[in-house]
Amino acid sequence: MRHRHFFFLFIFVSAVFLHGKTWVVKTPTLAQIITAAEPFDTIIVDGGIHRNTPYEIRKPLVLIGENGPVLDGGGKTEILIVHHDSVVIRDLTFQNAGISFVDDNAALRIEKASHIRVENNRFKDNFFAVYLAQAAQCTIRNNHITASNIRETNSGNGIHLWYCEDILIEGNQVSGQRDGIYFEFVMNGRIRNNLSENNLRYGLHFMFSDTCEYTENTFRNNGAGVAVMYTEAVKMHRNLFVDNWGSASYGLLLKEIRDSEITHNIFRGNSVGIYTESSNRVMVSQNDFLENGWGVKIQSSSLENVFTANNFIGNSFDIATAGRQNHSRFDGNYWDKYTGYDLDRDGVGDVAFRPVRLFAYIVQQNPPALILMRSLFVDLLDRAERLLPVITPPTLQDNRPLMERVNPL
């Protein structure tokens, strides 16, 4: 906190006394001007293609593009590296940061710096696009990141954070990278209103990133959906997970996530809506699971999770488990497959609902059996199992199934 106060004071002082000069770059000598500029100067890059990469910034500067300037890494090097606090980078186009199998080459790397703003830039065909290492208090906003790699191995992440703190990532669009947004050892990150689609691996991928918040993002058609691991106190609200198809593709994969909240999200048309393994005390409420292959796949290693007030509509399988153990609670959800009645008209069904079909278990054990879906034989098996559970977990049932779907937001 002290650090931050000092920073604001610094800005105030600089605004009053320093009156930073403004430089206009016409010819491609950006490197020289960056060297020549005083701290807190503004550099306006006026058009042109600048190829003398990598450029490095070692002082507080404002770098603004006008008339579409392009910084081109020529497929070999990194493009812009920021080593100092308080830098603004706006309206630039970064392209062709070099692919490397040794280094994490990035179009824009922010290294051990704080109070950086990266806004309204375009990133085209880079290895990594935005790379923050040991950065803090940064804002990455309204950037447009695209790449067109085909193989995961020669593709980097769209927005990559490693050992960062207090980062806001907002309104970006990422597509065609390896992971759209990647977090490792990040504290207190906020990811808002981004669109991450058509990435080769994960739309969002985070590990060891406690107390982060993900709201109103859209993750669509990514190679393996979204995977989040080894993290606690995560908040995921009002996100959209759609059309993540494939054998190892999940709307949302949770592995060792603890004490977290997943609310008001929509999972639509994924092979698996949520897959959860060894995740404890996760609150999953008021989400819509629509037309997924599997709504929720929950492994017995997941303890004390609560699923409540969710809508399960049009999924081929609502819930699937691996064994007879269940240590989570399903209570007060709406299931479109519920056929019970509500005599006292309190909106809650009088008969408990078992969302796990025997067939889901069979398919888990013998995948080729999937071809028997919707067969009368399988329906009969399911019915028998529901009456007298011998294979599916007897405790996995919703004792208060809702008669009407929970209203959307």
Binding site: S247, I362, I371, R374, S375
Partner: protein
């Protein structure tokens, strides 16, 4: 050809008089209309209809087919005293039953949708596949019924065999497939399972519908194999050929029995 036409004409009139086809048409019409009106959108309606199509059509076709042929036994014998080719007579009888059944099913299912419209474009394809496979099932199971009722003179026996045959295709066969899948769980069975489905017309029809309805579930690893096969030109032609074989084979067997039979 003219003889076949005449027989069909007579038979259609006879069936219409028995009101069964009309009832059959109204059943599908009311069911579809009711589901569309009270059950929510077209997607949900089609999902509910798929079960009905896969169960009711084969059952109705095989039982009504067998019953009809036993019922009109005397008329058939009467016609056989006339200078009528047996091939033509059998074809006429078969088409005279299968075509009205198929038509009334298709119309009963399709008309309410024309009136109500669709929720999304994928449903049009699903409806077409459903009507197509329903018509195929009608032809297949009518042919099976004709074969059985020509082969067995005893009415009760014939009807019993029809029901058992339906039960076999609808339930028992899938149970056997599941058993095989569980027994040989250690082996890659995707291709084998696809082959199994070719030997059961009900499974074939079901999978064609499945691919339209449960796309996301099927995109799992195994599903992708199925999807790739049945989604490819080669797979679709194989499935269509199998359904054709399933129509022609029982018909041909029945025809052979019919031409050789000593009435």
């Amino acid at each position: 050809m003219r003889t076949i036409g005449k027989i069909i004409k007579y038979e259609v009139r006879d069936i219409l008089r028995s009101k069964f086809v009309l009832f059959y048409f109204i059943f599908f019409l009311l069911l579809t209309e009711g589901l569309l009106r009270f059950g929510g959108g077209s997607t949900k309606t089609l999902a509910s209809l798929s079960n009905v199509v896969l169960l009711v059509i084969p059952l109705m076709a095989i039982i009504f087919g067998a019953m009809y042929l036993y019922h009109s036994r005397e008329f058939t014998e009467l016609l056989l005293t006339q200078p009528v080719n047996r091939h033509q007579l059998f074809t006429g009888l078969y088409l005279g039953l299968a075509v009205p059944l198929g038509l009334s099913f298709g119309a009963g299912l399709g008309l309410p949708f024309l009136f109500h419209g669709f929720d999304d474009a994928g449903d049009v394809m699903l409806l077409l596949v459903m009507i197509g496979s329903g018509v195929f099932l009608t032809f297949i199971f009518t042919a099976l019924a004709f074969w059985i009722s020509v082969a067995y003179n005893e009415r009760v026996k014939g009807l019993g065999i029809s029901i058992v045959l339906w039960l076999f295709f609808a339930v028992i066969y899938d149970g056997l497939v599941l058993l095989v899948v569980a027994w040989f769980a250690d082996y890659p069975l995707e291709k084998a399972v696809i082959t199994f489905t070719l030997f059961n017309p009900l499974d074939l029809a079901r999978i064609l519908l499945l691919l339209q309805m449960d796309a996301s579930a099927l995109m799992g690893y195994t599903g992708a194999v199925f999807q790739r096969f049945f989604g490819s030109f080669w797979g679709i032609s194989t499935a269509a050929t199998a359904l054709m074989v399933w129509t022609v084979m029982p018909f041909w067997m029945g025809m052979r029995k019919f031409t050789q039979k000593d009435f």
